[in-house]
């Protein structure tokens, strides 16, 4: 049970971090006071890292769901108020962690809003360095899948992966040829990142179409990509990428669970047609706001069987 990690952080440190988060959000809303209070960004980052460790520990445990949700929601709350890194790639990774933890803490809608209002910094999508370009494209794709700011985000997420595939043949061999003693590790890193790219593509297709290559086995398809990505990390001992991959794997699974396609699949054909209509809303338009996911209360309502298969509009008596 991963509660031991939260106990190690200590109730005082956790409560202090929550108070500081509230203070900063209030200050931001009122546009007054200094940004940092009694607890510095460095201290808050330490608590967020500890909470993320608790999330990673709890996510694979049968009885760890509540601990994972609580720790993820607290970690997300901290990451949203501390300063983001200046370096574009570090900035994107920070946003990626923030968004993943938000989804796992049932705060996905807040993360979408935060990323719309304060997007990540522009990434080097056309960098001469192949690894820099791959990292940038995959971070951008995942952030867009997580933000889902209309169809444009999801179409651009797919475009990032397609662009990588087109450029791979030209750049990959040249990049590896320059790596000399680290070529093996760098090759495994690319293997991991390519699987993460494929996973982002699968999730994007499912989010928009409710199926992938005519199949509904999206969990298995995603699981296969993430398993291979994790194996690549382990072969090359890429600890940070391993952690991020585990976080993305659990987040992707949660997004499939949250998807309007997943939640309504078992109802009936009229509901399926309705879902196609609400998902398709705004397609081809710049500012359309379709619905891709159900919020936690909506999922709970459906899960409690208040809507019957025979009557999608009438609550069960």
């Amino acid at each position: 049970m991963s509660a031991w990690i939260l106990d190690s952080l200590g109730p005082e440190r956790l409560e202090g971090a929550r108070t500081e988060v509230s203070r900063r959000l209030l200050r931001e809303a009122l546009a007054t006071g200094s940004r940092e209070g009694a607890i510095t960004d460095q201290d808050l980052r330490f608590v967020a890292d500890g909470l993320e460790l608790a999330v990673l520990d709890a996510m694979d445990q049968e009885d760890g769901l509540d601990t994972m949700r609580r720790a993820a929601a607290d970690a997300f709350a901290i990451l949203r108020v501390i300063a983001r890194p200046a370096d574009p790639q570090d900035n994107a990774t920070h946003c990626l962690r923030l968004a993943c933890l938000a989804v796992l803490g049932e705060r996905g809608a807040d993360a979408e809003r935060i990323l719309r209002e304060s997007p990540w910094r522009a990434l080097p999508l056309t960098s001469d360095s192949w690894i820099e370009r791959v990292l940038a494209a995959i971070s951008d794709a995942w952030l867009r899948v997580l933000r889902k700011d209309g169809w444009r985000d999801l179409e651009e997420a797919q475009q990032r992966v397609l662009d990588l595939r087109r450029a791979q043949q030209e750049h990959e061999a040249r990049y590896l040829a320059t790596r000399n003693s680290s070529a093996r590790t760098d090759a495994w890193e690319l293997v991991c990142l390519y699987h993460l790219a494929k996973a982002a593509e699968i999730l994007t297709i499912y989010t928009t179409q409710g199926e992938v290559d005519g199949g509904f086995d999206v969990r298995e398809q995603l699981g296969g990509q993430f398993d291979r990505a994790l194996t690549a990390c382990e072969r090359a001992e890429l600890l940070e990428l391993h952690t991020l991959t585990r976080l993305l794997r659990r987040t992707a699974a949660q997004m499939v669970d949250n998807s309007i396609w997943t939640v309504t699949r078992a109802v009936n054909s009229r509901v399926s047609r309705f879902v196609e209509e609400v998902v398709g809303h705004g397609r081809g338009q710049r500012h359309g706001r379709p619905i891709f996911e159900m919020l936690p209360p909506q999922r709970r309502t459906l899960a409690s069987a208040s809507i019957t298969p025979d009557s999608p509009t009438k609550p069960r008596p």
Binding site: S8, G10, R13, D43
Partner: protein, 74 residues
């Protein structure tokens, strides 16, 4: 052991830990190799954090180490 280490690390606010460094060379042993590094570390870490530095001086030249590491005879 992992749980014990993480518990100490988190409960101390990231301070109760040991930095461990190993220098491996194919030269004659000398105290100077570690003196400047230990002096720099001593200025940048505070108790309860500690550092342990070790130097290993191997009798084989450095260009043979990859083959030795793969199991070749000295």
């Amino acid at each position: 052991m992992y749980q014990e280490a993480v518990t100490h690390y988190l409960a101390s606010g990231g301070k109760l830990m040991v930095l461990f460094g190993v220098l491996i060379r194919d030269t004659a042993p000398t105290d100077k190799d570690l003196q400047s590094r230990s002096a720099a570390l001593a200025r940048s870490i505070d108790a309860p954090t500690t550092a342990v530095l070790q130097a290993w001086y191997l009798p084989e030249p450095i260009d043979r180490w990859p083959r030795l590491a793969m199991g070749a005879s000295p």
